[in-house]
């Protein structure tokens, strides 16, 4: 048997040369002087703050920019030797697979099976080959049970996995991924990264992946490219990136590196494995100081009270039990992270609390009122200006409570993601506050999608402020690090039932998936955050020094 040379003289999967781009609505250059080469089989992580140009670069690499978005370009983008700007996405289809941020716009068929079948049909593959490819990609992404489901009945995370499967099913030589784990639960997120690494190693698929939750991806990446204001600010190895990030923008660095840097360690680990290796030989204490609220007696559930709550969802064909015998009490002033796998019932619980869906049995009450922000803040924005959305003193009070400090005459849809979210929250709060008092319960459903760490810190501060003013803040999230940074208490749902409920330091340590990177490094109950980890490591390093 002969083996073909790996690359030979074949053109590179992606070659960008001095590329610049401006969107048609103005606002300056979204990309400026980008030069980037991705050879076959390389796994490149694209990092950078929100609005730094990551998404635009991915769009350019598959021809969507300028073909679908208009605007002006300079320089060139070649995909396997073909010009993306000239050919457009239609001609790039057999060279790249794209998974964009919003999974709802990435499904074009009615069932999951037909969604996966469609790209294979377009390529003229026969029925046996299609059946095999569908089965394999479904198994790889853990979605065989979804194959015959209607796409309209899937949760956001399930849709994300289907979109990924549809992009992977034809095994394109270059995969472009725009925050593919943003809506995935930690289990699915880790599985996805493992799968991408396997495709990359075994099939030579090149991967260019934009991501904010770097701790997941960094150990798997061959190279990191950092974008800043439309330019490439760093291009190098993951280890070099850690040093760059700590020196220039610590919010970009992964928790493991921040812990070791804060503790004054010489070597910065790339992930949990390296960090644990560094700890070998040091005495790790059995337990630490728990994060989050201490154990407390059950409250009176004035903000939210669920008693044996059962909720069914009817999709027109069948009824699905979304919540099963949920007992839960939340008091005003608590900060609660609602976690669980995709489809575990998190959004349904929030919607039931807001009265959007009702129980089939049991009881749910939010006696002190509730303001709910659903997954897409844009759904709340229907007027031409912030002022028109929220008129009068009550509108201004709501904007102040939500922490909005932008232009009142701006079109809400032109605002940044964080500002848009605050306006939408203010819309939900407006008129529900008695003078300065908030409703007893404020719910946010997956608010961190597309947010960099700076914006997430802003959101955590907002949650603090709302809780200080007496509201219970309940945030449904898949982002473990964010949950650890804002929550006192974590409620973990599984298959519609509460499977864990306790202080954040307890629930987010000791597990495999629903646990922070710091907790996985130290394995000490209660140590989940960077500051606690750094404190613990400092002590360990001091104790380990020769006396």
């Amino acid at each position: 048997m002969t083996v073909a040379p790996k690359t030979g003289s074949r053109p590179r999967p992606l070659s960008v040369e001095n590329f610049s781009y401006a969107y048609p609505r103005g606002g300056g250059l979204a990309l400026e002087g980008i030069s980037l080469e991705i050879p076959e089989g390389e796994f490149v992580l694209l990092a950078g703050g929100s609005g730094s140009g990551k998404t635009t670069l991915l769009r350019a690499a598959c021809g969507l920019v300028p073909h679908f978005h208009g605007g002006t370009i300079g320089g060139s983008v070649l995909v396997s030797g073909r010009s993306a700007a000239e050919g457009g996405p239609g001609e790039m289809a057999d060279l790249v697979g794209l998974v964009a941020q919003d999974p709802e716009t990435q499904v074009v068929s009615t069932t999951v099976r037909s969604e996966l079948d469609l790209p294979l049909r377009f390529r003229g593959q026969g029925a046996p080959a299609r059946a095999r490819a569908i089965e394999e990609v479904a198994l790889a992404l853990g979605i065989p049970h979804l194959l015959d489901r209607q796409v309209t009945t899937l949760s956001g995370g399930e849709l994300q996995r289907v979109a990924l499967a549809a992009a992977l099913v034809t095994r394109p030589p270059l995969l472009l991924l725009d925050e593919p784990t943003s809506q995935l639960d930690p289990v699915a997120g880790d599985e996805l990264i493992g799968l991408l690494r396997r495709l990359n190693e075994e099939w030579g698929v090149s991967v260019l992946m934009a991501e904010h939750r770097l701790e997941r991806v960094l150990p798997s990446a061959d190279r990191v490219v950092v974008m800043e204001r439309g330019r490439i600010a760093f291009d190098g190895s993951p280890r070099g990136f850690q040093e760059y990030a700590l020196a220039s923008d610590p919010s970009l660095a992964a928790p493991a590196a921040r812990v070791f840097s804060q503790a004054g360690a010489d070597r910065l680990p790339l992930g949990v494995r390296e960090a644990r290796a560094e700890l070998a030989g040091l005495d790790v204490p059995a337990d630490g100081t728990p994060s989050g609220a201490p154990d407390r007696a059950p409250g009176n559930g004035r903000a939210l009270s669920c008693e044996r709550l059962w909720v069914e969802l009817d999709d027109g064909l069948e009824r699905v039990e979304a919540l099963r015998s949920v007992d839960l009490r939340i008091d005003p002033g608590e900060k609660v992270a609602l976690m669980g796998r995709n489809g575990a019932g998190k959004s349904t619980l929030l919607k039931a609390a807001a009265g959007l869906v009702g129980p089939v049995s049991g009881r749910i009450t939010a006696r002190g009122g509730m303001a709910l922000l659903t997954q897409d803040p844009s759904d709340y924005l229907v007027r031409d200006s912030v002022r028109a959305e929220l008129p009068g003193p009550e509108g201004e009070a709501a904007l102040a409570a939500a922490g909005f400090d932008g232009d009142l005459d701006a079109d809400p849809r032109d605002l940044s993601g964080g500002q848009r979210q605050r306006v939408a929250l203010a819309i939900a709060l407006a008129g529900r506050m008695e003078t300065e008092r908030l409703p007893d319960l404020v719910g946010l459903d997956e608010p961190t999608r597309g947010m960099d760490r700076g914006l997430k810190e802003g959101l955590a501060e907002l949650a603090d402020r709302l809780a200080d003013r007496g509201a219970a803040v309940v945030i449904a999230t898949h982002d473990v690090e964010f949950a650890a940074s804002f929550a006192d208490r974590v409620v973990l749902l599984g298959e519609g039932e509460v499977i864990a409920d306790g202080p954040a330091g307890e629930v987010l340590s000791g597990g495999w998936y629903f646990t922070t990177e710091v907790a996985r490094i130290f394995g000490v109950e209660g140590v989940i955050g960077v500051d606690e980890g750094a404190l613990l490591l400092s002590g360990m390093l001091s104790a380990g020094e020769p006396g």
């Binding site: 969507l64 679908f68 457009g88 996405p89 239609g90 001609e91 790039m92 289809a93 057999d94 790249v96 794209l98 919003d102 709802e104 716009t105 990435q106 074009v108 068929s109 009615t110 069932t111 469609l118 790209p119 049909r121 377009f122 390529r123 209607q150 309209t152 992009a167 034809t170 909720v311 069914e312 969802l313 009817d314 999709d315 027109g316 009824r319 979304a322 349904t348 959007l356 869906v357 009702g358 129980p359 303001a371 922000l373 659903t374 759904d379 709340y380 924005l381 229907v382 007027r383 959305e389 929220l390 008129p391 009068g392 709501a398 203010a426 819309i427 939900a428 407006a430 008129g431 529900r432």
Partner: protein, 300 residues
Amino acid sequence: MTGLRRSPLAYLPRKGPLQSAGPLAASLYLGGFLVAGLLAPEPLVALAAALGAAIAGIGAGAWRAVRFSLGLGLGIALVLTLVNAVASDRGATVLARLGEWPVLGSVQVTAEAVAAGAMTGLRAVAVMVVAAVWSACVDPDRVLARMHRFGGRTALTATLVSRFLPLAAADRARLGEAAGLRGPAASPVTRAAMARRLLEGSLDRSVEVAATLELRGYSLPGAPSAPRPQPSRHDRRFLVCGVALLAIVLAALATGDGSLIAYPEVRWQAGPTTVVLVVSLVFAGLVTWPGAGRTRDRRP
């Protein structure tokens, strides 16, 4: 009470005759109602088109789509009637004088303006019911395959034809949910604001879906057309019914024996062809009902 997760306009893969039929046959059948409703020369025909399409939808199990479209359509019809009544000063039969209005000047409501507005509204109701039934009962995957087969190389056109209504319906469900979550002091979501936002949002999303379709390989150079879909035993029934309806509509328009002339005075006439058309439209709706078209077993 249970929560509904699906838009009423989303396609449901039931085993009814209309869902089993090929997209061409089903579209031609519903097209008969659409053309009748759109070109209705007088109100009975528009009403019959809406009623026939509603009967067809209910027979196919799409009662939620029918209820939704009737609610929306009647609301729009009411708005059209009111706007025309106030904005048009044509007509001889004055029902009310509303005095001087800013911009509009002297406003009077005439029976003729009300009739003209109501006629347009009825046409809108018929179109909306037909569109809703089509969206809920005709498999968009098969529509997409058919468009690809017929040489469609524009993903945006394919998306607008096969996905726009379901996308708009899903958007409307989400926007409606968010509207219900607004605080009492936020500006209320008016129908006009919602409609504008819905149209803008759905078009944007259609463009994004079209981009996805392109990247899936819809217009790959040399991409083979999707294979011919499996024929259905119901196809002939719907094809014949659709062609017959279209023929009767054209005949009714050609004979001109049914009409509503609003101005200067309301004149409404309905002749025998119109009556045939009205009866045909209503009975054509029954074609989708289970058991319709089944040959009776004549064995002893």
